[in-house]
């Protein structure tokens, strides 16, 4: 029986790497993203190199197409959701449009998508892996809505994990640190950026286990622990 996976946000970054890894492992794929041309290029590349079946779906997570998704994923085993966006100037202000967009894209749309996935009779579904960010664990004034929406997403994912625990579906949420994707490419950061390929390998390997919340690179768990242990008088002075 063929193995099948769905990757949401497969046109770039960690999502694309996940699609490549799964394709090399022999999975048939459904790849989704907004940029159809980039998806079709990836489809050609993976089909030619690994000779498996790749279906492309132009998909804007902000648009309401969840019923359609539910129909095509009936035989999918693993789902990877890698979408997310951060914006410059995500601090205290009155740009409510950006606020809503960040909340919609990073939390609400993903939550709806997951409900849509779980709402059908998908007996073949074994795992859902959702990318989050260490921003959810280290609140800072420079990305308020991004961090808040990722924190909400993590809470939601872990609550869903509890809700489906009797169905043997692994729900993992992976808080990733600085990663060398387009989001971080032109940022000066205090710690090294992880290779998206390494992040993808880790996420795929963990999809076979019921992990709940995990961090990658792993040292971020220690950093987060230290940050949370800092007294406010120290934390408020941090510039990061």
């Amino acid at each position: 029986m063929s193995k099948k996976a769905m990757v949401v946000g497969a046109s770039s970054g960690v999502g694309r790497e996940i699609a490549e890894i799964l394709s090399e492992k022999g999975y048939d794929l459904i790849i989704l993203a907004r940029d159809k041309r980039s998806l079709e290029s990836l489809q050609s590349d993976l089909e030619l190199r690994f000779e498996n079946s790749i279906a492309v779906l132009k998909f804007d997570i902000l648009e309401n197409k969840y019923v359609e998704i539910g129909e095509i994923i009936h035989d999918v085993n693993h789902v990877f959701i890698t979408v997310g966006v951060s914006l410059d100037g995500d601090d205290i202000g009155e740009n409510f449009g950006n606020m809503e967009m960040l909340l919609q894209l990073n939390f609400f749309s993903i939550a709806r998508l997951i409900y849509s996935l779980l709402g059908g009779q998908h007996s073949s579904l074994k795992s859902i892996s959702i990318i989050s960010s260490i921003a959810a664990h280290a609140p800072r004034g420079k990305n308020i809505m991004y961090g808040a929406s990722k924190a909400a997403l993590e809470y939601f994912a872990l609550a869903v994990r509890h809700a489906v625990s009797s169905k043997n579906i692994n729900v993992n949420v992976i808080a990733i640190g600085y990663t060398d994707t387009v989001l971080a490419y032109n940022q000066k950061l205090i710690l090294p950026k992880a290779d998206p390929l390494d992040v993808a390998k880790y996420i795929v390997s963990k999809s076979r286990q019921d992990c709940g919340l995990i961090f990658y690179p792993k040292y971020w768990r220690v950093i987060v622990f230290i940050l949370k242990a800092l007294p406010w008088s120290v934390y408020r002075r941090l510039k990061f």
Binding site: S11, S12, G13, D35, S41, D45, L48, R49
Partner: protein, 438 residues
């Protein structure tokens, strides 16, 4: 944000704004803005080809194979694909890329932009000859598909056009059947540089590729002693499980001091020659993926030039001028005590068009440390090229001036005219273009 960039020879270092799009929508959004652009592949050019005052677009995420015709041996791929990925795919299908430069992280876009050559230029020509079609993007024209039968002028301007006609989105290549899963490399001793040319000529009909290595730190009759290498494709029972590993970068951290001073260069050449004679096999067989990229695994060589880097000069001299040229070079090196880290010969065939590095003759490549006397040596080589009607490789020398290039390349003015006719706004610009006044 700007990044520190340097040429592969490390003689030019500067800050550069770089974008690295991963999706077409992002790429087109970047290029909708004002200002000048230049595409960047592996960033391994010896010349400042992907440096400018605008934005360099790192194309390496556009590295997908778009189409493959296994019967005709045609492959269409995005321009950011590196030669390793491309070769890994086509060799498994029984095909081979006709022209391969020496390093696996070089991108197809880079090969097009400098119309590069490989070890078998005499047999296979330059990279551009295997291109059947390519797709360009220029903000003023949108996407342009050009081939031998469609927009031929744009194709000709783009092959060897140093990225000035736009960003290359994808390239279609005519492959050749793979003759064997291994490359058998034979080594032949040669006593001096002059004999090497005759040997290269005679071996060129025996081998698929011939090239040489020479010790120019000798005086007298042994000046240029060394080896001729001949390569043949063979089928052999050999493991082909080769991994790419880490690649060298232009902004590498060389050792603090230059090892290739006069004594060091003499010693290293002597050690290499002795090692190859006493311990090296006269014949060895390598998997295609390893044999195709001889520099891979030998990168330490570049680190030995120290923090000031090195310089390379590569020229093609006509067969009837070889003796005269080599004699002048020998006299200069012996008299001026010029250290030479590496010298290598290849045979070339072709004819000049625009600024492409192709001509009938012998190609000599020289690596020297980036020290004061090397600048003088390269100026001397410029004069020698002008005197003998030789052409130099624009992608190898970060120092070349417009005057020299204009003198030796007879189609310089034609190239400049056609380029400005295509785009007089110079939307795709680089320091190299500024240096050459194009």
């Amino acid at each position: 944000m700007t990044r520190k960039r340097c040429t592969f020879d490390q003689t030019i270092k500067r800050s550069q704004q770089v974008e690295r799009p991963e999706k077409y929508s992002h790429l087109f959004k970047i290029m909708d803005s004002e200002g000048e652009f230049i595409a960047q592949g592996a960033g391994l050019s010896y010349s400042p080809a992907s440096m400018n005052n605008g934005v360099a677009i790192d194309f390496r995420k556009f590295d997908r194979i778009l189409d493959f015709d296994s019967k005709k041996g045609l492959i269409r791929c995005e321009a950011g694909i590196n030669l390793w990925k491309l070769l890994d795919f086509v060799t498994q299908k029984g095909w081979m890329v006709k022209v391969l430069p020496g390093y696996p992280s070089i991108t197809v876009g880079g090969c097009v932009a400098f119309n590069v050559h490989g070890k078998s230029q005499y047999h296979s020509g330059n990279f551009g000859e295997s291109i059947t079609q390519l797709t360009l993007y220029h903000p003023a024209y949108g996407e342009v598909e050009c081939s031998r039968g469609n927009d031929r002028e744009v194709l000709d301007l783009t092959i060897g056009g140093m990225g000035f006609t736009g960003v290359i989105l994808d390239v279609t290549l005519q492959l050749e059947p793979l003759k064997g899963n291994t490359i058998e490399i034979s080594k032949h001793r040669v006593d001096n540089l002059s004999f090497a040319v005759e040997l290269l000529k005679s071996y060129s009909s025996v081998y698929d590729s011939v090239y040489s290595w020479h010790d120019l730190m000798q005086t007298g009759e042994t000046f240029g002693r060394g080896f001729i290498f001949g390569e043949l494709y063979r089928n052999a029972d050999i493991s082909s499980n080769i991994r790419l590993g880490n690649n060298i970068a232009a902004d590498r951290n060389n050792i603090p001091i230059n090892i290739f001073n006069l004594k060091g260069a003499k010693l290293i050449n002597e050690i290499y020659l002795t090692k190859e004679l006493k311990f090296g096999k006269m014949k060895k067989t390598l998997p295609v993926m390893k044999g195709a990229f001889p520099i891979k695994g030998q990168e330490i060589y570049y680190y030995l030039y120290g923090k000031n880097g090195f310089r390379e000069y590569q020229f093609i001299v006509a067969f009837d001028k070889v003796e005269e040229m080599f004699l002048h070079i020998k006299k200069y090196i012996n008299k001026r005590k010029q250290p030479i880290g590496l010298a290598s010969l290849k045979l070339f065939k072709g004819s000049q068009s625009y600024l492409n590095f192709a001509e009938d003759g012998v190609c000599l490549a020289l690596d020297v440390p980036n020290i004061d006397i090397s600048e003088h040596f390269f100026n001397f080589l410029d004069e020698l090229c002008i005197a003998t009607g030789s052409i130099m490789n624009l992608s190898k020398d970060s120092r070349l001036s417009c005057g020299t290039v204009q003198t030796v390349y007879r189609e310089y003015d034609l190239f400049k005219r056609d380029l400005l006719k295509y785009d007089n706004q110079k939307r795709f610009n680089s320091v190299l273009r500024e240096n050459l006044h194009l």
